[in-house]
C-alpha cells in the first residue's frame, strides 16, 4: 500500500497516508516499536486466554477451558460459603429457646430475615405478602389470635398446621353446621345477638331471642360473653375482627354452614425462623 503513495508533506518531510479530509492529511509516522510488542503480547495473551478459559461457543454451551472456570460454579461456591458462615446461627436457631430469642440480637435478626423470605415463598399465597390475610385467612398483624399469639403457640401452629389430616397433632376443632340444627329464624336471631356482642348495629328484639340460643348452642366454645376459647380455636366474637366478615349475610352463612379453615403442617425446617418473623409483625404476645 505504502509504495504506491508518494505524497510527502512539505512542512515535516514525512510521507502522508494519502487520506485527505477537507485538505487535512494524515502523516504516516512510524508507530513506536514497544507498541508493536504490546500488540503481539495481546495476541499471545488472547491465545492463552482462549485455551485457559471458556471461549468458543458450541451448540450446547462453550469450550470449557483448561482451568475449568465457570461463573455458575463460582456462584454455587459463594452460596455454599455463606451457608457455611451461617451454619452456627442456623443450628443455634433450630435449638433456640424461642421465648428468649430477643436476647440474642444477631440470632433474632437472622431468624427474622430468614423467616421473612420463607414466609414470602410459602405463606404469602394465603396470608398475603404483607401478612394481613384475606377473607378466611387470618391477619397476622393484629392482636387477635385464634389459637394463641405467643411465640411457642405460633411455632406449634406452623409446625403441625390447622385441621389437616396429615399431622395428628394439628390443631383441631369443628363448628357444627347449625343449618341442620336450628331453624332459619333462629339463626337470624343468633346473628343479631352475635352482632350485639361486638358493638355492631343490631335488632334488639331478635337479639334477645338470640341470646338464649347462644347460651344453649354456642357458649360452650365461644364463651358466655362470646370472648372465644383459644384451646379450641373458637374465635372471639366480641371484638372488631372478623375472619369471614361481620355483616348479617356472612354471619348467617357462617352459622348455617359452618367454616373449616385448614393450614398444612410445615414440619420443622425453618419453622422457628418463620415463627420469629410472624411474632414480630405487631401482634405477637
Amino acid at each position: 500500500m505504502t509504495d504506491k503513495n508518494q505524497d510527502i508533506d512539505q512542512e515535516t518531510g514525512v510521507e502522508t497516508t494519502g487520506h485527505d479530509w477537507d485538505g487535512i492529511k494524515e502523516l504516516n509516522n512510524p508507530l513506536p516499536r514497544w507498541w508493536l510488542w504490546c500488540f503481539y503480547l495481546t495476541i499471545v495473551w488472547g491465545i492463552g486466554y482462549v485455551i485457559a478459559y471458556p471461549a468458543w461457543p458450541l451448540v450446547n454451551g462453550a469450550t470449557a477451558g483448561l482451568l475449568g472456570y465457570s461463573t455458575r460454579a463460582e456462584v454455587a461456591t459463594e452460596i455454599a460459603r455463606f451457608d457455611d458462615l451461617n451454619a452456627d446461627l442456623r443450628t443455634a436457631l433450630a435449638a433456640a429457646d424461642m421465648t428468649t430469642l430477643g436476647e440474642d440480637q444477631d440470632l433474632q435478626r437472622f431468624a427474622v430475615a430468614g423467616g421473612a423470605a420463607v414466609f414470602r415463598a410459602n405463606c404469602s399465597q394465603c396470608h398475603g405478602s404483607g401478612a394481613n390475610g384475606a377473607k378466611g385467612y387470618p391477619n397476622l398483624l393484629d392482636d387477635d389470635w385464634l389459637w394463641g399469639g405467643d411465640i411457642e403457640t405460633i411455632v406449634y401452629s406452623i409446625r403441625h398446621g390447622i385441621r389437616n389430616e396429615l399431622d395428628d397433632d394439628a390443631h383441631y376443632s369443628q363448628m357444627p353446621a347449625f343449618g341442620e340444627i336450628l331453624e332459619t329464624e333462629e339463626i337470624s336471631a343468633l346473628v343479631q345477638h352475635v352482632r350485639s356482642l361486638s358493638g355492631a348495629e343490631y335488632d334488639a328484639g331478635l337479639a334477645a331471642t338470640g341470646a338464649d340460643l347462644f347460651l344453649e348452642n354456642c357458649s360452650d366454645c365461644h364463651g358466655e360473653t362470646g370472648l372465644g376459647d383459644r384451646e379450641q380455636g373458637a374465635p372471639n366474637l366480641a371484638d372488631a375482627i372478623w375472619l369471614y366478615g361481620g355483616d348479617p349475610a356472612t354471619l348467617e352463612q357462617t352459622i348455617t354452614y359452618s367454616r373449616f379453615g385448614v393450614m398444612p403442617p410445615w414440619g420443622t425446617r425453618q419453622v422457628n425462623a418463620v415463627a420469629a418473623y410472624v411474632h414480630q409483625l405487631g401482634g405477637g404476645e
Binding site: 505504502t2 509504495d3 508518494q6 514525512v14 510521507e15 504516516n28 509516522n29 512510524p30 508507530l31 513506536p32 516499536r33 514497544w34 507498541w35 508493536l36 430477643g102 398475603g128 405478602s129 404483607g130 394481613n132 391477619n139 398483624l141 393484629d142 392482636d143 387477635d144 358493638g199 372471639n236 371484638d239 372488631a240 375482627i241 414480630q280 405487631g282
Partner: protein, 470 residues
Amino acid sequence: MNTPDTPPLFAAQEPIFPRRVTGAFRRFKWWIMAVTLGIYYLTPWIRWDRGPSLPDQAVLVDMANRRFYFFWIEIWPHEFYFVAGLLIMAGLGLFLFTSALGRVWCGYACPQTVWTDLFILVERWIEGDRNARVRLWKTKWDFRKWRLRLTKWLVWLLIAVSTGGAWVFYFTDAPRLAVELVTFTAHPVAYSTIAILTATTFLFGGFMREQVCIYMCPWPRIQGAMMDDDTLTVAYRDWRGEPRAKKRVEDTGDCIDCMACVNVCPMGIDIRDGQQMECITCALCIDACDDVMDKIGKPRGLIDYLALADEPAERAGDPPRPIWKHALRPRTVLYTALWSMIGFGLVFALFIRADIDLTVEPVRNPQFITMSDGSVRNTYNIRLRNKHGEARDFRISLTSESILRIRQEGSASNILTVPPDSTTQHRVYVIARPQDEAAHTERTGLRFWIEDTKNGERAHRDSLFNGKAN
C-alpha cells in the same frame, strides 16, 4: 517490505538525555515536586480523632465499610455526589488552566512528569549529567556500566516500591498495615497492588517517560480542544532568533544555535521548530535559553511563554499584550464561573447536611389494620443514621391535629437506640382509637419528631395516617 523511500512502520524509541538546568522555572518545579510528593507520601500518616469506634486516620478510603474520611468530613455512599462534584471541579479546573496556560498540568503537576523528574534526578546523581550519560550509553557493558546501571535501577526500584506502598495506606489504617506489610501478614491485595504500582512507576518513570505522554495519555488529545490563540504556551521568538548562527556576524538573529534548549528538553524536541505535539510546556528550555542570553548579553525571552495572537504584533516590532489580557477572556471566565459555582454548591451542601438523618417509610401493604378493640393501626419504618463515634439515643414522638398514639415494635419505650457509625431501621406503629377522628378519616397528616436525648437536636418528617373511610 520497506523500499528506501518509504518510512518504516515501526520505530525504536529515541534515547533522550536531558541536561541539568537552573533557573526560575526549574526552582519552581523543584518546589512543586517537594510539595506534591510530600502530600502523597505523608497524608496517610496524619491522625484525626473521631471518637472510639471510628478510625483515626485523617484521610481514609474505607472500601470494606463504605466510608470516606477526609479530616472533619465523613462521606457515606449515599453522599457520593460530593466525590462526583470534586471530580467535576478537577475537570473544570484542568479546562481553565489549559485554556489559559496550555499544558501546565503536564509540565508541572502531572504525576508522570513529577516522577520522571525525580527519576532523572537520580539518574543524574548516579551516572552524571548529559554528556556523561551519552558516553555511558555508547560504551560497552563493562563492570563500571553494570555497576552504575544496577545502582540506578535499584534506587528507582526503591522509589517505585515506596510509591506503590504509599498508595495502599490510603485504604486502611496506615500504621497497622505498615507492620503487617513487613511481617508478611498483610492481605494479598495489598501486596499485589504494591507490585503493580511498583512495576508501572518503575517502567513509566524510568523507561517509558515521554512515550507515555506522546502515545498513551489521552489528556493531550483533549487539551487541544481547550487551547486557542490566546493560550500562553512555550514558544520560540523566531523573528528575533533567526537566522540562527553559531558565528556572530551582522544580520544574524539572537539564537546562537547552542542547542541548550534541545539538550534540556525531557521530550527530546527542538522548540525552535514551533509548538508541537510532544511539548509538555515544562519551561525548562526557557530557563536554558535565558541562561545563554544572559551570557551573551542579549535580553531574556528568546524562548518564552507566548500567545499565538501576539505573533503578528511582535513581528511588527510591537510589545506583546500583558498576560492578564490573555488570561481574561470569555472562555476562562466561563470555566472559572462554572468551577466556583460547583465549589460553592458543594460547600453549601456540606454545611446544610443534617446531623440527624431520618427517613420515614409508611408501610402500605396493608394500608392499615383493625385491632380487636376496633382501633386502627398504621405501620412505619423509621430509618435513622448515626454518624457519630458513639451510640445515640433518640426519642420519637409525633404531632398531629388528630389524636394518635405511637408504639415501637418489641419495646415499651419510645427511645430508639442507634449504635455508632451505623444505620438502623425501627418499626413503629401509630394507633387511632375507634372514637378518634383519624380512625374514620381517609387520610390524616402527622409529623414524626426525633430528638437526641443527650443534646436535644431534633429532626422531623411528615407522613400520612390512613383511616377506615366508611
